[in-house]
């Protein structure tokens, strides 16, 4: 019968196909190339324009600044060997490292430094970094290895801003026709190819740090789904995963599994509920205080981060040198529903209703919003979630067109960079329209004073004032995780999720 013959034919076809497929093993892999998996797409590598998490992970391998943060987030000299600050705190003179070359072999000099800073400050570049260094009055090239910056006013966080200002050669514009897709820096790796979902980097053979990098190359691959990313690691197609989507779930599913290591570090970025302070009824500080009292930040940390997060005070607990206060020392942090309801009654807002708009690109933002919605409901506050696409969200955010939103703010070890632009009246990211003269003057004092003890005193007062005025709700500082195959040695994750440590990492397959 035809059907029997037919069945047999199909059976053999399937058998043959499966034999062919099972005979194929995973493609040959370059033994000393580290394969890193992230969920975010790598677009735009312009060192002075790109802001995306994924862009920075590539750029920090290729480019370097005058200073850099080490793995403990402490400032260290990088392309500068040393520096002097004048007594008035206005002039910074840097002695540059000699013998450093760019990836094309051209030498690194003070003119390159001046060119790079000028490029950032040039309005045509449209650099988001410009606002961090616009206190610079003049840049003077003293010699090939010496350059000095004169500030127009004292600015204590100046050095902390330098790691983000990447140095490019002075003839960058002619050598790199499209800096969004091509690079030219001094870093431990150089960019070979920027593909649709990967960036492949190879070793800079003449890197200035002796013996580094140890790897022959790095392949940074984008895999958008967290579950797929984990599976790729589990099946040996990727060596390290970290960044957005690699959270406590990932850590938990690899904890104790032979052949894998999980590392974590307290993060500097924090989740927040942004409040539009200029919109009724949030103009009333009692309403904002009530919101802060109505929520349980600890429960939020338990649910969203499985306890691997801490209640967020304005300063992260990890920046110990600036004396961060704990939530117990601050007002409006302990959940107290009756007090919240009393404040709302005082303000005439017993039936408070508002919308929460979570940042759509970060899964945990929606989770946080869903948990907050539950917590608010328990306190008799009605909320509605608003889900919009990322461009609309950013547009609303920029125009302060929201009741409240949930997002993450990237943190910085320096309290001024950490807080200033979100809180100062008219600050560039003060989309909350928060304005408080006392906060403004404390922030200004913090910039002008250069002694560490004086700064700690000022920032203590500032934290108290912020907790009292509730410009927005600081929610949690979450731990950040990386999971890797046990082949990977000396890979560390910095609190801001930088993986610049890759230059010292090695593979032991």
């Amino acid at each position: 019968m035809i059907s029997q013959r037919f069945f047999r034919a199909i059976f053999f076809a399937v058998l043959a196909l499966s034999l062919v497929f099972s005979g194929l093993e995973a493609q040959s892999q370059d033994d000393n190339v580290l394969r890193v998996g992230i969920t975010q797409q790598i677009i735009n590598l312009d060192p002075h324009v790109a802001t995306a998490f994924s862009s920075f992970r590539v750029m920090e391998q290729v480019y370097e600044g005058l200073m850099r943060f080490d793995s403990d987030s402490a400032l260290q000299p990088a392309l500068a060997e040393s520096f002097d600050v004048s007594d008035d705190g206005l002039t910074y003179t840097f002695n540059l490292r000699s013998g450093v070359t760019f990836h094309d072999g051209s030498p690194f000099t003070a003119n390159d430094v001046k060119f790079s800073f000028d490029r950032v400050l040039n309005p045509d570049t449209a650099s988001p970094q410009a606002s961090r260094i616009n206190s610079i009055g003049s840049i003077d090239v003293i010699s090939d290895t010496q350059v000095s910056f004169t500030l127009s006013e004292a600015f204590s966080p100046f050095l902390s801003a330098l790691p983000q200002i990447f140095i490019v050669p002075q003839d960058f514009a002619t050598k790199v026709s499209n800096p969004q897709v091509a690079t030219l820096g001094t870093g431990p790796f150089q960019l070979d190819e920027l593909g649709p979902d990967f960036a492949s980097l190879s070793k800079n053979e003449s890197y200035w740090e002796a013996g580094l990098p140890k790897l022959d190359g790095v392949l940074i691959r984008q895999i958008p789904e967290a579950a797929t990313l984990r599976s790729a690691l589990r099946t040996g197609q990727i060596d390290v995963i970290f960044g957005f989507g690699v959270d406590v779930i990932s850590a938990g599913s690899f904890a104790g599994v032979p052949g894998f290591n999980v590392i974590s570090t307290p993060g500097l970025s924090y989740s927040l509920l942004g409040i539009q302070n200029d919109r009724e009824p949030f103009t009333d500080v009692r309403v904002r205080q009530a919101l802060s009292l109505a929520i349980d930040r600890q429960e939020l940390a338990e649910i969203v981060y499985f306890g691997r997060a801490v209640v967020a005070a304005p300063l992260a607990a990890s920046v110990t040198e600036f004396g961060p206060l704990s939530s117990g020392q601050l007002a409006n942090y302990e959940r107290d529903i009756p007090a919240a309801q009393a404040l709302l009654a005082d303000a005439g807002q017993e039936n408070l209703t508002f919308t929460i708009s979570p940042l759509p690109t970060v899964p945990e933002a929606v989770q946080i919003a869903e948990v907050l919605q539950q917590q608010f409901e328990q306190a008799g506050i009605t909320t509605e979630l608003e889900l919009i696409d990322i461009a609309t969200w950013v547009d609303n955010w920029r125009n302060s067109n929201f009741d409240t939103f949930v997002s993450l703010n990237g943190g910085n070890p320096d309290p001024d960079i950490h807080l200033n632009r979100h809180l100062v009246t008219g600050g560039s990211t003060n989309v909350f329209k928060f304005s408080d003269p006392e906060v403004d003057s404390l922030l200004a004092d913090g910039r002008l004073v250069s002694g560490l003890n004086d700064r700690v005193e000022i920032y203590n007062q500032l934290q108290q004032r912020i907790a009292d005025q509730v410009p927005f709700l600081f929610l949690n500082y979450a731990e950040v995780f990386a999971v890797m195959s046990s082949d990977v040695q000396d890979f560390t994750l910095r609190a801001d999720q930088s993986i610049a440590s890759i230059r010292g990492a090695s593979l032991n397959r």
């Binding site: 035809i2 059907s3 037919f6 199909i10 062919v20 497929f21 099972s22 194929l24 995973a26 493609q27 998996g37 797409q41 677009i43 735009n44 312009d46 802001t51 995306a52 309005p123 045509d124 570049t125 449209a126 650099s127 988001p128 410009a130 606002s131 499209n178 800096p179 969004q180 897709v181 593909g195 649709p196 979902d197 691959r221 984008q222 895999i223 958008p224 789904e225 797929t228 599976s231 790729a232 589990r234 099946t235 197609q237 990727i238 696409d389 990322i390 461009a391 609309t392 969200w393 950013v394 547009d395 609303n396 955010w397 920029r398 560039s428 990211t429 003060n430 989309v431």
Partner: protein
């Protein structure tokens, strides 16, 4: 027939023109602009934002932007993607092989699996085979593609480890590995189409079986296989080709979902990214690419009709 083909191709021009205006208008109705998306949270600084807008040519009125775009396209300059800085042509040529391969692979799998299945169901006298056929094709039509894709990854890649998860090598460099890597996505995309085609194959074979010439052929004592192949399948081809044409259109929609689930960097995903990134020049060309493919597929189907049934004439 050439005249007919050329006429169809000429008709493509006004469609492309109208679609390009539509895309331009639609995307300008969306709040948010690419400068904001590109700067992310750094867009808060009005000076930075204005500088970026100017750099991107977004400070011009919409009709001027469209005019500039059209002029460039007519002179062969398809512009640069706003978010990535690559030229649109570079991006398309980098991405389209993934999508075209996926769609073709799925189409081939659909046809290769569905036609024997449908034939079997049509010629069998077994009630059980008939029932199983009905059952599985109905299920195949009812499964959401994204879900079956996720399930395939879970079972075949994570648990059984038969297939790689990421990494799609090019067909030219490593043909077998490529076919292996694309197998799960292609079968996911093919699944509902296998069911649909198999059902049509069965129905049209049953239809043809009752025609006189088949009865005559059987009466002449021709072997069953020859009857099925020579007389039935050939004549049943027209509805099947029609359906395959429709399905080729559906595949283009399906690739978006499948590329999303399997992390394939193809045109579908690029299209979605260009919407979220408000990347007008890119989205324009992706949509136009889709429209052109759609029109071509339909044209091929119509031309196939002529070959299969010389009685059909197009004027």
């Amino acid at each position: 027939m050439w005249a007919y083909i050329i006429k169809r191709l000429i008709f493509l021009i006004p469609i492309l023109f109208v679609v390009s205006i539509l895309v331009f208008l639609l995307i300008h109705m969306i709040p948010g602009d690419p400068a904001v998306t590109m700067l992310g949270t750094e867009a808060a600084n009005p000076e930075t934002l204005e500088a970026m807008r100017k750099k991107m040519g977004l400070d011009q009125p919409v009709y001027v932007q469209y005019g500039i775009w059209l002029q460039n396209v007519l002179t062969g300059n398809f512009g640069k993607s706003i978010s990535s800085g690559k030229t649109v042509m570079d991006l398309l040529s980098e991405r389209y092989p993934f999508t075209v391969e996926l769609a073709l692979y799925a189409l081939i799998l659909s046809v290769v699996i569905a036609i024997p299945l449908g034939t079997l169901a049509a010629i069998t006298r077994s009630k059980w085979v008939g029932f199983i056929f009905q059952f599985f094709t109905l299920i195949g039509l009812s499964l959401p593609t994204f879900w079956s894709g996720i399930m395939f990854i879970l079972v075949f890649s994570v648990y059984l480890r038969w297939f790689p998860i990421v990494n799609f090598p090019s067909l030219a460099d490593a043909p077998l590995e490529n076919l292996k890597a694309f197998f799960l996505p292609a079968i996911t995309l093919a699944l509902p189409n296998i069911a649909a085609i198999a059902r049509v194959v069965r129905a049209s074979l049953l239809d043809v079986r009752q025609r006189d010439y088949v009865k005559t052929a059987r009466a002449k004592g021709l072997a069953e296989g020859i009857v099925v192949y020579k007389h039935m399948l050939k004549n049943a081809m027209i509805p099947i080709i029609t359906l395959i044409g429709i399905i080729a259109g559906y595949l283009m929609g399906g690739v978006i979902i499948v590329e999303h689930v399997f992390a394939i960097p193809g045109l579908g995903r690029l299209g979605v990214e260009s919407i979220t990134g408000r990347d007008y020049p890119l989205l324009q060309m992706i949509v136009l690419f889709g429209v052109v493919s759609f029109v071509f597929v339909n044209l091929i189907v119509d031309v196939l009709y002529i070959f299969l049934n010389p009685k059909i004439r197009y004027d």
